[in-house]
């Protein structure tokens, strides 16, 4: 009687120990019951865990709502002054962002001959034609923010600060492509005339 009862108890104990060990398995810490960035969720109709911003959501940065900074529009239409301080760093930032986001179609010089255009995208206007030379810095900001023609809006991809940096860089690009020798400071001009194409003196 005693023996027949004790054998199952050994098996039971072993089974319990095994169950205890196995209970440690599973990936419930690796896959936690929360949504990570861009994870799918059946909870929402579009199947996405990322939720879009509500209509009319405004940034709380820059101390609240600054219509000029966020739209490029002043009381008299598109602004011709940067709402942020112009600096060499800003232009460098603008160049970097332009090369990432704009050069694919507009080309590195703004001629409208980017790689995607060569692959079949309709050619955009050159930044160096008179209409666009005359356009204000706010015009470029507004085009990036709202899209223009076949160009989609870049508002969700480029932060407003960077859109202003790009707009400033486009104006600088126009200046660079339409500059004459007289626009150069005397020293640089002399170096160019005497030296090589980089302006280095011999």
């Amino acid at each position: 009687m005693k023996a027949s009862r004790s054998v199952p108890s050994v098996v039971l104990a072993a089974g319990l120990a095994l169950a205890l060990l196995v209970s440690g398995c599973g990936r419930n810490m690796a896959e936690q019951p929360r949504l990570g960035a861009q994870q799918a969720s059946p909870f929402f109709a579009d199947g996405s865990g990322n939720r879009p911003l509500l209509e009319g959501t405004v940034s709380r940065e820059r101390g609240g709502i600054d219509p000029v900074f966020f739209t490029g529009m002043g009381p008299d239409g598109l602004v011709s002054q940067l709402p942020i301080e112009l600096s060499y760093e800003l232009l460098q930032r603008g160049q970097e962002r332009y090369d990432i986001f704009c050069s694919m179609c507009h080309g590195y010089t703004g001629e409208g001959d980017g790689m995607v255009v060569r692959r079949g995208f309709p050619r955009p206007a050159s930044f160096h034609e008179q209409r666009l030379l005359d356009a204000s810095v706010g015009y470029y900001f507004s085009a990036m923010t709202n899209g223009f023609g076949r160009m989609y809006s870049y508002a969700s991809r480029i932060a407003p600060e960077d859109r202003w940096a790009i707009a400033a860089y486009v104006k600088a690009l126009q200046l660079s492509q339409n500059a004459t020798l007289d626009d150069l400071p005397n020293e640089v001009r002399r170096a160019l005339e005497l030296g090589d194409s980089e302006g280095r003196l011999p």
Partner: protein, 217 residues
């Protein structure tokens, strides 16, 4: 005092101690072997709803990584682009191509394309792309030559042991920030000297790099 345990309990305890010891020894041998030999799906292409070719977009067209992975410099996630980003060009280029069917339907019904995840670190690990980029870790250090991949796959195992190779000695891998996006970057012959300079210049706190709570919070 009554006997609560039957006499053969002694045998059970003896075997349990022996078995437990053997189990621990086996574990101590097997786990390191497993950790060192499993390749964690490195080099295995992950099937995707659209056969997106990184080599075409990044290398042949020369599109910057950040055109699509917009948040990689400022956020924890690099972010997979929304269909809007694809449609920026594909509203005009290869319109009606059946290869892009999933993209058209996503764009029309507003449901994101269900891309399959390639890199999936466990959720108890808090990885941040922006911190790595700011410290001079190159894209290709972890992701390999994505610009040469027709499909997409893991180039590195993304295991903790692999992370620690750099976290224990970041000077072996860091590059100047200007080279982070250079997919063809080759470390210079004096990498260790350069790496030590960069560790100092980018304020990489080597003590924090090997602290548990830096990645496991």
């Amino acid at each position: 005092m009554p006997q609560y345990f039957p006499p053969n309990t002694n045998a059970f305890v003896r075997w349990a101690i022996l078995g437990g010891g053997a189990f621990l020894v086996a574990l101590a041998v097997a786990l390191p072997i497993f950790a060192r030999t499993m390749n964690n799906a490195v080099g295995v292409p992950v099937p995707q709803p659209i056969d997106f070719a990184h080599n075409l977009h990044a290398a042949q067209l020369g599109i910057d990584c950040r055109y699509c992975h917009t948040s990689v410099e400022v956020a924890a996630t690099a972010s997979v682009p929304p269909s809007e980003t694809c449609m920026t060009c594909h509203s005009q280029v290869r319109v009606g191509d059946p290869q892009l069917a999933e993209l058209w339907s996503s764009w029309e019904n507003g449901r994101p394309v269900s891309w399959n995840r390639v890199h999936n670190v466990p959720e108890y690990t808090y990885f941040d792309h922006s911190a790595h980029i700011a410290s001079g870790v190159g894209c290709s250090t972890c992701h390999g030559r994505v610009d040469q991949m027709g499909g997409i796959w893991k180039a590195e195992p993304m295991t903790m042991g692999w992370c620690m190779e750099c976290h224990r000695a970041p000077e072996r891998f860091l590059r100047p920030r200007s080279e982070v996006l250079n997919m063809a970057y080759q470390p210079p012959s004096d990498q260790l000297a350069l790496g030590r300079e960069l560790v100092a210049a980018y304020h990489v706190d080597t003590d924090k790099l090997i602290s548990c709570s830096t990645c496991h919070r």
